[in-house]
């Protein structure tokens, strides 16, 4: 338990730093903004309580917001992501492994499962984020296009991160 808290705290700090100091400074054609920090919510353990999940989502989003001066924008998107996660997990769960231990991972769940899990949730998060950012439906297709491109990029970044750092699990 304590080990988990330390592990996740380290992951949290690492992902936030990575997001703020490196990814936010990468400009991919102006349309594409990868938000790797959502990986933290995706990697939380299966057995985390609903309220804890939402609070962690709020804290993660709020931290990013504080550094990016976008109060409320990332928080609402990340809370939305945290809210969707249990439904997503139940939808993707096989009948046998309902009470799985540990956390979702590329090595533990397989490529296809993890791809579905990551891409759908990342898309939901980015959809929320970019529409709050635009705050209007007048540029609907442009915003949707941004969401799509950025979701793909974020998913690719997440897979790279998993391949690099998730060897041991």
């Amino acid at each position: 338990m304590v080990k988990d808290i330390v592990k996740y705290s380290g992951l949290f700090v690492l992902l936030i730093l990575l997001q703020i100091f490196i990814l936010n400074n990468i400009q991919l054609s102006g349309y594409i903004n990868p938000y790797l920090y959502v990986l933290f919510i995706l990697l939380l353990p299966y057995e985390i309580a609903g309220w804890a999940l939402l609070i962690v989502g709020l804290l993660t989003g709020l931290t990013i917001d504080t550094f990016m001066n976008t109060y409320g924008m990332h928080s609402s998107a990340t809370i939305f992501l945290a809210f969707l996660r249990p439904y997503m997990l139940r939808m993707l769960a096989d009948r046998e492994d309902v009470d799985k231990k540990g956390n979702p991972s590329l090595s533990g769940n397989g490529f296809v499962w993890f791809l579905k899990y990551v891409s759908i949730l990342v898309f939901a998060h980015h959809l929320m984020l970019f529409f709050i950012e635009a705050f209007s439906f007048s540029t609907f297709f442009s915003t949707l296009w941004r969401t799509l491109l950025s979701s793909v990029t974020t998913t690719i970044f997440i897979f790279i991160a998993m391949l690099l750092f998730d060897k041991k699990q």
Partner: protein, 275 residues
């Protein structure tokens, strides 16, 4: 029972989600200008739409009250109209019926500067280009002709006073319709001279002199003054002195006369006059 507990747990999860989302939207609306204005716009549109509908519905309930209100204000306006009509008639009589002349319109002006003791007297009015005043428009008061606009700025205009030895205007005897030219000799500010009235015309002291209307500047029949002395025996023309109705020492409110068909008249006269 188990499913009930699960349902409550789910429900709490959703409730917490709503609370946190509300919180972050509150953050969004208080901290970011763009989103907060958008939100305000949306709520304003919504409330505006709703209140329009509500007021449309309640309008019918207030029709009786509105009718009474309108009747009351009609009454007040009628009273005002009657009062103004009386004043209008009064002023029209003073101006010698010229307000009914449809070819001219009038602009009310205040005299802000005036002189009578020089040979070349000028007035300044508090109206200018912005009020439609142009060069060479006539200026009259309720008592008679005052002068002709010589220069305009956007809010002021200068007027060559009738008491300026350079100004000559066309005038006629109201009784006989013989016309002559009227000018000031620079001596007495209450008297001007009328010349070019032929000797055969029987002029008597006290005859009224009015504008002729032969120039586009002044409408016809604006009062000028009365004949105070008849001289010039032995020449072809009378030498008439005219006592002015207008007291140039007491001018305050005057009207600037705008001829409506001025250009048409001028064009016509310029093309047909042989010089």
């Amino acid at each position: 029972m188990n499913s009930l507990i699960r349902f409550i747990v789910r429900y709490q999860f959703f409730l917490l989600f709503l609370v946190l989302e509300t919180f972050s939207f509150w953050l969004l609306s208080t901290h970011s200008y763009y989103q907060s204005t958008k939100l305000e716009d949306a709520t304003r549109t919504l409330t505006g739409f709703a209140s329009t509908r509500i007021s449309n519905a309640t309008k019918y309930l207030k029709l009786a009250e509105t009718n009474e209100h309108l009747a009351q204000s009609n009454l007040e306006l009628r009273n005002q109209l009657a009062a103004l009509n009386t004043r209008y008639d009064l002023l029209r009589n003073k101006l010698g019926d010229t307000l009914v002349e449809p070819n001219y319109s009038y602009t009310l002006a205040k005299v802000v500067n005036n002189s009578i003791n020089k040979q070349y007297n000028y007035l300044t009015l508090n109206v200018g280009k912005d009020h439609g005043v142009k060069k060479e428009m006539g200026v009259v008061s309720s008592q008679g002709v005052i002068g002709i606009v010589a220069g305009v700025s956007s809010n002021y205009s200068t007027v060559i006073s009738l008491l300026n030895v350079d100004l000559k205007i066309s005038a006629k005897l109201k009784r006989t319709n013989h016309f002559g030219s009227l000018y000031w000799d620079g001596k007495n500010y209450r008297e001007v001279l009328l010349t070019d009235v032929p000797q055969h015309v029987a002029v008597s002291i006290g005859d009224t002199v009015v504008t002729s209307g032969y120039s586009a500047i002044f409408p016809a029949d604006i009062n000028l003054g009365t004949i105070s002395s008849v001289e010039g025996k032995g020449s072809n023309f009378h030498n008439l002195k005219v006592k002015l109705f207008a007291d140039f020492k007491q001018l305050s409110s005057v009207w600037v006369v705008s001829p409506k068909l001025e250009s048409e008249r001028e064009d016509l006269e310029n093309t047909t006059t042989l010089r």
